[in-house]
């Protein structure tokens, strides 16, 4: 808790600022409320995922099944709600989807905590299973007409502004989902013993065990919570693109992890903040969405993101190398 900004976060924030200035100077249209709304809307899904990934990374694990969980949850929920002709609030969709997410997360948790298997491998397996199960046994047809509640949710916007081409653009209601998830998770991670326990097991698992922390309980919480967040993110995603596509989302998991790592979380556990994760996600989203505004063809996206990941991780790696060199001298 050394100040609000750690060095890493300030660094990412600076890069974002620099990037925004560059994009804005090339295309002044960038500095409009409409663009901000767009960016925020595109950040929601990756942002929610990022919050979950952060929690897993801090605990010293890796989860690559969350996109499969999200696709599973939203697809099953949409089909189910359509099949019963449900016309009520989107909250019900969130509830069902989140609950399915918790159940799928529970499967991860059981495998990880009772068999002590490496988290990357477990979630690789379960990710395959969840997606395979959905596509083989539930269906492959894209749901093009979503339950009315989700459609209403997707159309809800606040603070409308007029766009350049004459239409109106408002702040999507989906943004408020992220605005709810972030402080809740932030509170859990920083102001509860559970959250500090997550940092503790990421820092030194054996010490955590000796201190009397129940690691199984914590792991169950983490993977269920991440499952829950994935379920929520799934509904948001489907609502924003107005279809429930079972083939969506899977394949983006590594980019989310990359974004969170850019924000300062360490793959080895124990380190990382919500603020950093969100900044990392913003950085990736801005690059993804704004290359076109700078006149760069969209097929450059992947290469640019790749370079940023390499640069970002290089700087962190070189820094920690230098730090370790310094500390050897200090210890004398």
């Amino acid at each position: 808790m050394n100040g609000i900004f750690s060095r890493n976060e300030a660094f990412v924030a600076l890069i974002i600022l620099g990037l925004v200035l560059i994009i804005g100077s090339i295309n002044p249209n960038f500095f409009t409320l409409g663009t901000l709304y767009d960016l925020l809307r595109s950040s929601v899904v990756m942002g929610i995922f990022g919050v979950g990934v952060l929690m897993v990374l801090v605990s010293g694990g890796t989860d690559i099944s969350f996109t499969a969980i999200a696709a599973f949850c939203t697809y099953v929920t949409s089909r189910y709600l359509n099949s019963i002709g449900f016309e009520g609030s989107v909250l019900v969709a969130f509830l069902i989807s989140g609950a399915i997410g918790v159940l799928l997360g529970l499967i991860n948790a059981i495998l990880i905590s009772s068999f002590k298997l490496p988290t990357l491998i477990v979630t690789l397996g379960t990710g395959n299973m969840f997606r395979g199960f959905m596509l083989a046994f539930i269906g492959t047809k894209i749901v093009t007409v979503l339950p009315p509640g989700m459609i209403r949710f997707s159309r809800t916007e606040f603070f409308p502004v007029t766009t350049l081409i004459g239409g109106t653009n408002g702040l999507s209601a989906a943004v408020f989902v992220l605005l709810a998830v972030v402080p809740v998770t932030w509170y859990i991670l920083n102001y509860t013993m559970l959250g500090r326990g997550i940092y503790a097991i990421g820092g030194d698992r054996v010490a955590a065990e000796r201190a009397g922390l129940n690691i199984n309980v914590i792991q169950f919480f983490i993977y269920c919570y991440v499952g829950f967040l994935a379920g929520i993110a799934g509904i948001v995603h489907s609502s924003l693109v107005r279809t429930a596509n079972p083939f969506d989302l899977v394949g983006t998991e590594l980019s989310v992890i990359a974004a969170v790592v850019l924000g300062g979380a360490r793959i080895t556990g124990g380190h990382g903040t919500i603020l950093g994760a969100i900044l990392g996600v913003f950085l990736v989203i801005i690059i993804n969405n704004s290359l076109i505004m700078m006149g760069v063809p969209s097929y450059w996206q992947s290469a640019v993101i790749g370079m940023i990941i390499i640069l970002g991780t290089s700087i962190t790696a070189l820094q920690s190398k230098r730090e370790s060199r310094v500390s050897i001298v200090d210890n004398q």
Partner: protein
């Protein structure tokens, strides 16, 4: 205790050879289990669908299907043995394939007669060269800069795929010389060329890993990098070589892919990355490094191929396969966990007893 003394020397030698034998059996235990699984899948599929499954045609079609993934898995395995991972194998393969394809498609009209062989060799050379370059860059990031391999190759995966996208603008590069397609579709005697290439690669790398100094270093580095450094192993060089070889194999897989499909695309086979990890883990490659054999990996890929073909014949969807693959991976991991738990307990006890016996004369 002094009665043991006279008979001590022969006893030691006895238990030495005996436990050596036991040691071999113990190592083979994992392989044996895999072999049993593979054979069981084969038998079940043969019984369920004897006609299409046990035909030459099926075997031939299977042996066109798995070499790509097989070679990519060996590439992945090398990185995993050092305790790392190479997420960029598919990105590298596609980039290598695309550049080779570019060469083939831009130069092919002019190339006539005797120049065809040269052109094809040139394309192969380009693909392997690009693979090696990509590998060296990965190795540089991991060994010199010190980025955790999962992050370094996550970045290069995006970068290599990105470069491929920029080169092709997202379109496929199509249509090569017929002679080139031989690499992906040809048959030598009764063996498909991709299969021959895979067998060669598997054999060479099995030898490299088990018989050479480099292989020895790879395992030691993967077990404990600090101890490797303190033992005089040049970790940087070993890691560079490892990722170089991994890139080389990815380049080779890239050639096979474009020759088999007659097209090169920047986003071909992206699911291969995690499948290769899956094959490695199934094959008993320890994800934290230091342990694993090529034979285990070969058995893993064969069993998955049998499963996959069998399911096709049973008219299961591809998605059902995905489900089963995940399930199999988790089952194998759980079984491995339970059996090592049991084994290590027994082994510990046996070792202690044996030591007590050997040192009994003291």
């Amino acid at each position: 205790m002094s009665t043991h003394f006279s008979s001590r020397t022969p006893k030691t030698r006895d238990s030495l050879s005996l436990s050596r034998l036991l040691g071999i059996l113990r190592i083979d235990n994992n392989l044996l289990r895999l072999l049993v699984i593979t054979v069981a899948i084969f038998v079940v599929m043969s019984l369920l669908r004897p006609h299409p499954f046990l035909t030459l045609r099926n075997f031939r079609s299977m042996s066109y299907q798995f070499p790509e993934l097989g070679i990519l898995s060996i590439a992945m395995m090398l990185a995993m043995l050092t305790g790392g991972i190479d997420l960029s194998v598919v990105g590298t393969a596609n980039l290598a394939g695309i550049l080779a394809a570019k060469l083939l498609t831009t130069l092919s009209p002019e190339a006539a007669g005797g120049h065809i062989a040269l052109l094809i060799l040139g394309a192969i050379f380009v693909a392997l060269g690009i693979g090696i370059l990509c590998g060296i860059f990965n190795g540089f990031l991991v060994a010199k800069i010190g980025i955790p391999p999962i992050l370094a190759t996550l970045g290069t995966m995006q970068l290599y795929t990105g470069i491929a996208l920029v080169i092709t603008k997202g379109y496929a590069v199509l249509g090569y010389l017929e002679q080139f397609l031989f690499i992906g579709n040809g048959v030598l005697w009764i063996f498909p060329v991709p299969l021959i290439l895979f067998v060669l690669v598997a054999f060479i790398f099995a030898m490299v890993l088990s018989k050479t100094v480099f292989g020895f270093y790879l395992f030691m580095l993967g077990t404990n990098a600090t101890a490797a450094r303190f033992s005089g192993i040049n970790n940087t060089l070993v890691l560079l070589k490892t990722y170089l070889l991994s890139g080389f194999l990815a380049g080779l897989a890239g050639i096979i892919v474009i020759a088999r499909t007659n097209s090169a695309k920047a986003d071909y086979g992206t699911s291969y990355v995690l499948q290769a990890v899956l094959v490695c883990v199934l094959g008993g490659i320890n994800p934290s490094g230091g342990f694993g054999t090529v034979s285990g990996l070969v058995l893993a890929i064969l069993s998955l191929q049998f499963l996959s073909s069998g399911f096709n014949m049973l008219r299961f969807s591809n998605f059902f396969k995905e489900f089963i693959w995940g399930l199999v991976l988790l089952l194998v991991m759980v079984i491995n966990y339970l059996s090592t738990l049991y084994q290590s307990r027994r082994q510990l006890q046996k070792t202690r007893e044996a030591i007590a016996e050997v040192s009994g004369g003291k």
